[in-house]
């Protein structure tokens, strides 16, 4: 084996410049993979973490997944009956017997329950109307259901408790309207109720969709505003283990029949964009690797053609086909490993470079620079990809080399 490695190394060194070019191909692939993956995964993980922090893990809504069935169809199961022109009963919106559900869920130790009434409203301030999604919450319960407590940049959650007319607004709303803590604002609901409320807090989650659109008031206040006394249209749950969200959502929906979404379902638009993003990233990095693979294939093919005499003599000495194959596979492996190591350095450099960039990003999320995932796994995956690509690329020429018939070569040379 040592002899084979020696020969492989000599062949690599014999074509330094070309080998370097193919090695650099691998380096680029590995480096950019690490850099891009760090950036994208950093962003995605930040976003998902934020989503998990700020939004409920599971939300029970006052709607059903399927349209209600016709009474006739319920009466005659499996029969071919259709009555046309039936209007479904106008049920008052809201979760019926919400109290019972909340009490039942509150007894569970693996989750916290936050009864909520959501509705649309305008904040009328300085002659300008700003539309918001108003969440009526129970401040005491909210502390355990969302991360609102930690996201408050001004005021405290308990201020909502002590001030029945209090409202907590997002940072984006505060910026747009000029509202500050302590200011009074007219809240106009879609039901036409107007209340004068005091801004007791400002929150900032970093997710613009929330910071620019959302405001919190007490549950009772929102019920007044929306003219829906005692109505709850969402029950928001926070789980001890967020991984259980899917299971818990299915379990609750099966039990109470109300549409129950895990955070993954609620955010599936964004998450599906991530899937596409990742697809694009892996495809482009894969393309770089492919090109790098061609580079390695090219150099090794060249060496195989150039070294046919060497191969013939090695075989005549008693080197086996396997030995010859190993020589050229080793060559590919050396290029792969060298490219991988250099690529790790490049990737690290790209990450550090990105990390040093200071800029205000205000797209979907708000940060002061790139959020980077420095996971060891990206290095491992990129390295493995590089070495696999190099070995696979070396395989074909190596096989060709092993098949060289020494008699043909020696006869041809004579």
């Amino acid at each position: 084996m040592a002899a084979l490695a020696k020969i492989a190394l000599a062949y690599v060194m014999g074509r330094k410049r070309q080998t370097l070019v193919s090695v650099l191909g691998v380096t680029m692939g590995v480096g950019f993979f690490i850099g891009i993956a760090a950036m994208m995964q950093g962003f995605q993980q930040f976003f998902i973490q934020k989503i998990i922090d700020v939004s409920p893990h599971v939300t029970i809504r006052d709607e059903y997944r399927e349209a209600p069935r016709q009474p006739a169809a319920m009466g005659y199961r499996g029969a071919a009956i259709e009555l046309r022109g039936i209007k479904p009963k106008d049920e008052p919106r809201g979760i019926r017997s919400a109290r019972r559900i909340i009490d039942a869920l509150s007894r569970r130790s693996d989750l916290a329950v936050g009864p909520t009434l959501t509705g649309q409203a305008f904040l009328r301030y300085g002659g300008k109307d700003t539309g918001v999604t108003l969440l009526g919450i129970d401040p005491a319960r909210e502390a355990r259901v969302s991360n609102l407590v930690n996201d408050l940049v001004e005021g405290k959650l308990s201020d909502l408790q002590s001030n029945p007319n209090g409202i907590i607004i997002g940072k984006g709303i505060a910026k747009k309207t000029g509202l500050k803590r302590g200011d009074y604002v007219s809240v106009v609901s879609s039901a036409g109720v107007i209340l004068r409320m005091k801004v007791v807090g400002v929150f900032e989650t970093g997710i613009l969709a929330l910071d620019d659109r959302q405001a919190y008031v007490r549950l009772k206040k929102n019920q007044v505003l929306q003219r829906r006394e005692n109505v709850i249209n969402q029950i928001r749950l926070r789980l001890a283990d967020v991984e259980q969200a899917e299971r818990v959502a299915r379990e609750i929906e099966a039990r109470y029949r109300y549409r129950t979404e895990s955070w993954k379902e609620t955010q599936k638009n964004v998450l599906s964009i991530f899937v596409i993003q990742n697809g694009v990233m892996y495809t482009s990095v894969g393309a770089i690797m492919l090109v790098a693979g061609f580079g390695i294939y090219n150099i090794i093919s060249t060496v195989v053609n150039e070294k046919r005499h060497d191969i013939a003599i090695l075989k005549s000495i008693g080197f086996s086909e396997r030995d010859i194959r190993i020589i050229f596979l080793l060559q590919g492996l050396m290029a792969g490993v060298a490219g991988c190591l250099l690529g790790w350095a490049l990737g690290r450099g790209i990450i550090e470079g990105l990390a040093s960039v200071r800029l205000d990003i205000e797209q979907i999320i708000r940060t002061q620079g790139f959020i980077l995932n420095r996971s060891f796994w990206n290095y491992a995956i990129a390295g493995a990809l590089a070495i696999i690509a190099a070995t696979v690329s070396a395989w074909l020429p190596a096989r060709k080399a092993a098949a060289v018939d020494p008699v043909d070569i020696i006869r041809g040379a004579a």
Binding site: A3, K6, D310, I313, I317, G318, D323, A414
Partner: protein, 249 residues
């Protein structure tokens, strides 16, 4: 630059063998080689039966295209006969698989070609060490000592650290011979080893072969079209159209 006969070294390893009664090293039993992948089958070697003993130095002569080289590739187990048997050192190679033949080439056969076929990236010494490294029977130190000793015997002590392109044609061919002897083979086969050498170097190579056969008991079989050279051997066979037409032994 010439090496004195009788110097202790690798070449003596087989001497003891030479003193025993002659035993066959290569036996060909009705060996025929036909190329079938050509448009018309070409018979390279036609029904040759031959025995070459230990310590013999034999020349294969004949006009070009007569099948001399094909015969030597068969004897050296680089090629396989279409029919007939080749017995090397008592081993019937017609029944040996690829791996066994590779092993036999590595341990019992040394090859010398018209072109030196040294690996250009390696020094003379590294080239000589290659078969030993492949065999892996000796320690690194022992390999190095043996490699240097072999080069020394062929007057190449100064060439050890040189790359092939820094050597003259005669020196390269002697390095190639040293490499062929690296694993102390029983049989040395050479295909026009002097084809690219001037007469002085050619004589040197053949006198080396002569010494290897006489003193070290190696069996040396060399293809040559040069009657001068053939006369330096102990036995000459002549091949015509793939068939054995004359045998001086």
């Amino acid at each position: 630059m010439s090496a004195e006969p009788g110097k202790p070294g690798a070449m003596d390893a087989g001497r003891a063998r030479g003193q025993r009664p002659a035993r066959p090293v290569v036996e060909l039993d009705h060996v025929t080689r036909i190329l079938t992948d050509e448009p018309q089958p070409v018979t390279l070697v036609r029904d040759i039966t031959l025995r070459v003993d230990e310590g013999e130095f034999m020349a294969i002569t004949g006009p070009s295209g007569s099948g001399k080289s094909s015969l030597i590739y068969l004897i050296g187990l680089l090629d396989s006969p279409t029919s007939g048997r080749i017995i090397l050192d008592g081993i019937d190679t017609s029944r040996a698989d690829k791996a066994r033949k590779e092993r036999l080439r590595l341990t019992r056969i040394g090859f010398v070609f018209q072109f030196h076929f040294l690996l250009p990236e390696f020094t003379a010494l590294e080239n000589v060490l290659l078969p030993m490294r492949k065999l892996g029977a000796l320690s690194d130190r022992a390999m190095l000592a043996r490699g240097l000793d072999l080069l020394g015997q062929f007057g190449l002590s100064d060439a050890a650290a040189k790359k092939p392109h820094q050597l003259s044609g005669g020196e390269r061919q002697r390095v190639a011979i040293a490499r062929a002897l690296a694993n102390d083979p029983l049989l040395l086969v050479a295909d026009e080893p002097t084809g690219n050498l001037d007469s002085k170097n050619s004589e040197l190579v053949f006198s080396l072969f002569d010494r290897l056969a006489r003193e070290a008991g190696k069996t040396v079989i060399s293809v040559t079209h040069d009657p001068e050279m053939a006369r330096m051997t102990h036995r000459q066979i002549r091949i015509l159209d793939g068939a054995l037409v004359a045998d001086s032994g």
